[in-house]
Amino acid sequence: MMERLTIAERQQAMLLSGGLALVGLALAIVGRGDAMGVHGWITMIFAGGLFFVVGNALYAPAPTDDRATSYYDDPTKVGILISLFWAVIAMGMGVWVAAQLAWPDLRFDAPWSSFGRIRPVHTSGVIFGFGGNALIATSYHVMQRTSRARLAGHVSPWFVLLGFNLFCIIAASGYLMGITQSKEYAEPEWYADIWLVVVWVVYFVLYMRTLARRNEPHIYVANWYYMAFILVVAVLHIVNNLAVPASFSAAKSYSAFSGVQDAMTQWWYGHNAVAFFLTAGFLGMLYYFLPKRAERPIYSYRLSILSFWGIVFFYIWAGSHHLHYTAVPQWVQTLGMTFSVMLLVPSWASAGNALMTLNGAWGKVRDDATLRFMMVAAVFYGLSTFEGSFMAIRAVNSLSHYTDWTVGHVHAGAMGWVALITFGSIYALVPILWRRESMYSWKLVEWHFWLALGGTVIYVFAMWNSGIIQGLMWRTYTESGTLAYSFTDSLVAMHPYYVARTIGGAFFLTGAIIGAFNVIMTIRKVHEQTPELDYPTKSEAGEPAVPAAE
């Protein structure tokens, strides 16, 4: 991989990783005696390792061919593999936390294995580790192909990918050590947050610079969504994590907001993490890989415009629906609820646009599990956005809030939509990236598809049942006007559904493991085949900009 970097770029990479290792050392010294010190050591080992890997190949031969005649896919490949690694780890954690809810003793006699610590490892691992890496990797692929231009830079893509993973490692290891600022999906402490800002700004600059050198007159829809994802996540992350460290030598910090403002900021962030991380980014994926795989034109460009602007405009208002019937003023709740409902039509317009694109390709959906992954993802996207708008209505929320219904809703989105579109995209992408004829085994893709779909359905149905029963038990009164059930009664009623949820999750995890195996075997065993026209070109006839070095 190093052979595609010039010597100057390798030196640049060494400088960056060496500098980061020194920062790690400084953190380790300043933060000794605190968990932050451990993170200093982790940073130093991570960056120091990179320093030596690059240094080892510093004087290996420099690239001889003209790099502008090909796409830069090395960071994409590594990103896909890391994403699959996180998928297995984080979904495994998910099955474990699910099992702990059914059998609370299923833990070691140690703090790190308690529910409160491994649950964020699951959520951050899936959202950021699996989803985030898949988004970064596919965005590199998609922006190059739809711009017909090579990535703008060779060090910065690595900086973004590896820097982001350092953040993920610091997050996950911090949870196990008990570090959290207790903001859901924004648990890591101040130094990790600052690091992510640096990484994310570099990502944004890289994306804009690559788009700026595009050879297409227009910017494709997928890129609108990726850009919205990168830009808005930066804004959300910075604002929600504004905090004052209690000391610069320890992890603890205090949020800049308090009380109702803090809750409102957190859920403005939390809901838009769903909107711009888990929706906009993955819609970018959908808009490239689905028409590509189906070989059909996008059903309607006008619908794309309507849904894009609808989604980015309405979503940003909807966060307060997480705080219905709380101390948040009612007018804020009203806005959250009404904007959530107005959001429904643009959301369905994108799901509909995706499904209508498949007209003329339904035979392929039947035969090709990869495309079927994407089709079912679009269906689940439609289902969960409908459910989301529905649950945002105050009267519905009074039943659903704080129950497992919310958990089921999130997983319909995370498993049915986010993970399925990601796996579909990975199966479409891997043979192209590694120049392979096809995936190692289409039967394993089928197995993965049915396990993932089955697991999702079991999970979601279990949580619907559990959540609605729970909500009803909590609000049932006796003739005397007193509560009919104790909280413990509702827990006893949940147990069978928690067992079912664990089984559904285990199905899903098994599918992910099969997928990871299939990808590795594709890379190792399948014959090479160079796809046509997979290089940057200014020519409309599809000739390379410069004669390709054969």
Partner: protein, 292 residues
């Protein structure tokens, strides 16, 4: 590049752009989409007019209905309490014996008490009231402080070893750790105490006698000369089959060596008198269920 083509399948024109083989049709937005955009927006508009919605400079639009969730919930809570107090007031005023004579009141108790117990007591004493090591069973008819209704009401009110000024106080001393008894002495007295509740094994008479002496000198002041406990001090009866922490060798050794100090919260500030009365009646109604 801007060559508009017609898609043979749908008959719609493309926009004329192409990205890596992907094209887009210029299909117009279906009427249904515009219809539902209109429906959701009109609904939102109407909702804004009637309900609290947009912020103004230093206040907010209160809505034509003048609906305020805080006022609504306060009214609902007040109404619920008014209704509850119709039957909770007599529960707080009458004695347990008197309440048992009034079927209408007992109906309220029977409906409410199990949930009250489940939400407040079951975490320690178990949903089945059978307790757990360290948390006494409430169905074995063995009482540390007494099982009559007045005593139970008082235990609920002040708790045991709780931060309440009038709390019940009881402590099993750490005879081993504090050097009052040696390890062999503790083992001997364990054997003796076990023999009191019929757990007797084949033990030499001399050992039992030695145990009895140790017991008389160290334990009898709280647990009574014959080991039947003293309820005024919360000292358990050692001659029955009920154990708070356990009657096996290991547990008893630990109990005598390290001492024990159980803890029950005081409920005076957390439950109303009527609630405590309901719990008392409920506990009494089930007190003998689990008797061996």
């Amino acid at each position: 590049m801007s060559v508009k083509e017609r898609d043979p399948l749908t008959g719609h024109e493309t926009t004329g752009h192409e990205w890596d083989g992907i094209t887009e049709l210029n299909t117009r937005v279906p009427r249904a989409v515009w219809f539902f955009v209109a429906v959701t927006h009109v609904w939102a508009l109407v909702y804004w007019v009637f309900m609290p919605s947009w912020p103004l400079i230093n206040t907010y639009w209160k809505g034509l209905l003048n609906y305020d969730q805080a006022i609504v919930v306060e009214e609902k809570v007040a109404k619920a309490y008014r209704e509850l107090d119709e039957w909770r007031a007599p529960l707080a005023a009458l004695s347990a014996e008197e309440i048992r004579e009034i079927p209408e009141l007992m109906a309220h108790v029977e409906r409410t008490a199990p949930t009250l117990f489940g939400d407040n007591c079951a975490a320690c004493h178990g949903l089945d009231l059978a307790g757990a090591p360290g948390y006494p069973s409430l169905v074995d008819d063995a009482w540390l402080w007494g099982g009559d209704s007045e005593t139970i009401m008082e235990t609920l009110r002040v708790g045991i070893n709780a931060p309440h000024p009038e709390t019940r106080f009881a402590q099993m001393l750490a005879f081993g750790r504090d050097g009052m008894l040696s390890r062999p002495q503790i083992r001997t007295v364990v054997d003796y105490v076990q023999s009191l509740s019929g757990l007797e094994r084949d033990l030499p008479a001399a050992r039992l006698e030695e145990g009895a002496t140790i017991f008389a000198e160290n334990c009898a002041s709280c647990h009574g000369e014959n080991g039947q406990g003293i309820q005024e001090m919360g000292a358990p009866n050692l001659t029955d089959a009920a154990w708070v922490y356990g009657g096996d060798d290991e547990t008893m050794f630990k109990t005598i060596y390290d001492g024990r100090q159980g803890w029950m919260p005081a409920w005076e500030d957390r439950l109303t008198k009527a609630d405590r009365m309901m719990l008392t009646l409920y506990i009494q109604s089930r007190a003998t269920e689990g008797q061996p």
